[in-house]
């Protein structure tokens, strides 16, 4: 059995304010808000936190130092791993490894971004040095970033497997139905119909607007510690059963062996084996959905279905509330929030589902959750398996 299986737990989770926070609110403020809420959720005192793991989507180069100072923390361990949208999941792995090595006892993982209110999101991505590999061999061609790489994957997927727009639309509609149950979701009050999906304009074909996530503000935080220590805090511990990550590139999609064979092909089996869990045991799925093609490729590469079957599988309604495969139960990046990166929100929701605290969004009897996140356009991926005690 994997030595770290179920030895560490998530004891506190929280979101910051989400949506459009307005011009006066900084990303630090959202990180602070999420962090303080997560500590309160756990009943962890600030002076217990000795490991700080932070990311944002801004240009702040030392977010761990800044957050620790503002919160009044004195951590022994700091980490600002930046591998795109899965950064917080890779940081969770690093936190477990650090705790296992005795380098910290209580880890705070936090994220916050005001990319919506600050207007910093650009269709072409952040400016690239024209001497860099992307500056020389990608930027001159006008590929949107990160929308473009996922559009490329979708065109190839549709060509190889004949997937229909209605399949991807079905996933968008099912996901919206979860948002319609979530009062903090951006599209809480807006259902989505198939005709609205099909009529939404192409942004980078074949990706339509309704295939693409929101651009919002928001943040989240989780608190980790050893399972034995976890029992003293406010909630039943949610155990980290297994995880795995991969790093393969820096947006350079042409360099991938096969665009549709994603990192989940490696991280899924390893994470599940470490967790001692099978795919059939998973009760609730939280899979990064910045674009509808992402959960589709994830379920195929995780081994849930054969290559080419994922769009039909996820598009047939089973992922919606009441269905057999609850997926993205917040409403996901497509309809709940998406402040630049989404990894932390997968964990916050998975923990809440396993605590049984999701109210009308609760997946009854949820015992095993699987989180999967992407980073930097197929460049990095992470799978995380959580279980109740």
């Amino acid at each position: 059995m994997w030595a770290m299986q179920r030895r560490y737990a998530v004891v506190g989770v929280a979101e910051s304010d989400l949506g459009v926070v307005g011009p006066g609110v900084t990303e630090l403020a959202l990180q602070v808000q999420a962090s303080r809420r997560a500590m309160a959720d756990a009943g962890v005192a600030p002076n217990e936190v000795d490991g700080v793991f932070v990311q944002s989507s801004s240009s702040e180069r030392m977010p761990a130092l800044l957050l620790a100072e503002y919160l009044g923390l004195h951590p022994r361990y700091a980490d600002t791993t930046m591998v795109g949208g899965c950064s917080n999941l890779q940081q969770l792995e690093h936190a477990v490894a650090a705790m296992d090595a005795g380098l910290c006892e209580v880890a705070l993982i936090a994220y916050g971004s005001t990319q919506r209110s600050s207007g910093t999101r650009q269709l072409g991505g952040p400016p690239e040095d024209p001497r860099s590999p992307r500056g020389q061999f990608e930027v001159p061609y006008g590929l949107l970033s990160p929308i473009g790489p996922y559009a490329l994957a979708m065109s190839r997927y549709q060509a190889l497997y004949g997937a229909r727009p209605e399949d991807f639309g079905g996933l968008a509609i099912s996901t919206r139905q979860w948002a319609n149950l979530n009062p903090v979701a951006y599209y809480y009050d807006r259902p989505l119909s198939l005709s609205e999906y099909l009529n939404s304009p192409f942004i980078s074909a074949p990706l339509r607007r309704e295939d693409i996530c929101l651009v919002t503000d928001g943040g989240g935080a989780v608190i980790l510690c050893r399972a034995e220590r976890a029992r003293q805090y406010r909630h039943p511990p949610v155990l980290i059963a297994g995880f795995a990550s991969i790093v393969r590139g820096h947006y350079w999609v042409p360099g991938l062996d096969e665009l549709l064979t994603t990192g989940a092909a490696v991280t899924g089996p390893v994470a599940l084996a470490r967790a001692g869990v099978q795919l059939a045991d998973v009760d609730v799925w939280e899979i990064y959905d910045a674009f509808t093609i992402m959960p589709v490729l994830a379920v195929e590469n995780l081994g849930l279905c054969a290559a080419g079957e994922g769009a039909r599988l996820l598009g047939d309604g089973r992922t919606a509330p009441g269905g057999s495969m609850p997926l993205n139960t917040t409403g996901g990046g497509l309809a709940y929030c998406h402040p630049g990166m989404f990894g932390i929100f997968l964990v916050v929701e998975a923990v809440r589902q396993l605590r049984g605290s999701c109210g009308i969004r609760q997946v009854a009897g949820a015992t095993v959750a699987l989180c999967h996140a992407y980073g930097a356009a197929f460049s990095a991926e992470s799978t995380l398996v959580l279980t109740r005690e």
Partner: protein, 151 residues
């Protein structure tokens, strides 16, 4: 004033590549140990780490591995719609390019394409690709070298 599309800036590792582009040739690095081409050029083999990579000219032919039609311009320099593709060269490696020409937006995965060039700024000739069309007489679209015009 029309905004300019971004231009690459050559580095010591890529100056030979871009100079060859100006002469109408697409160079690829070839590793004699791995017996394989690689792109983008970086002065050593990214598979084996070896430094004996050598430049070889590409035949300028390939197929469309994946495509996207951009409908929202990232800056005023771009006129939509335009096609960005991952091109699979016959030699093996893949690269980004625009598919240009009046039939570009009908591009499909697997389409054969042929190299062409687009002048970008004062000093750069950018590799681009056109879809290969066969006429009733069987001749193909565009010559692969010496065609420095762009759309």
């Amino acid at each position: 004033m029309q905004a300019e599309r971004p231009a690459p800036e050559p580095t010591p590792q890529t100056s030979a590549f871009w100079e060859a582009c100006r002469q109408g040739t697409l160079l690829l690095e070839f590793c004699p140990t791995c017996q394989a081409y690689q792109f983008y050029p970086r002065g050593f083999c990214s598979r084996c780490g070896g430094e004996s990579v050598e430049w070889r000219p590409s035949g300028g032919r390939g197929t469309v591995y994946a495509w996207t039609v951009t409908w929202r311009a990232p800056s005023p320099a771009w006129e939509v719609p335009y096609v960005v593709a991952v091109i699979q060269l016959d030699e093996g490696p893949r690269l980004y390019a625009n598919v240009i020409g009046e039939d570009a937006v009908d591009v499909a995965v697997g389409d054969p394409v042929v190299l062409t060039w687009e002048k970008r700024g004062a000093t750069i000739s950018l590799p681009q690709f056109r879809r290969v069309r066969t006429s009733k007489l069987g001749d193909e679209g565009t010559s692969l070298s010496g065609d420095r015009g762009g759309d």
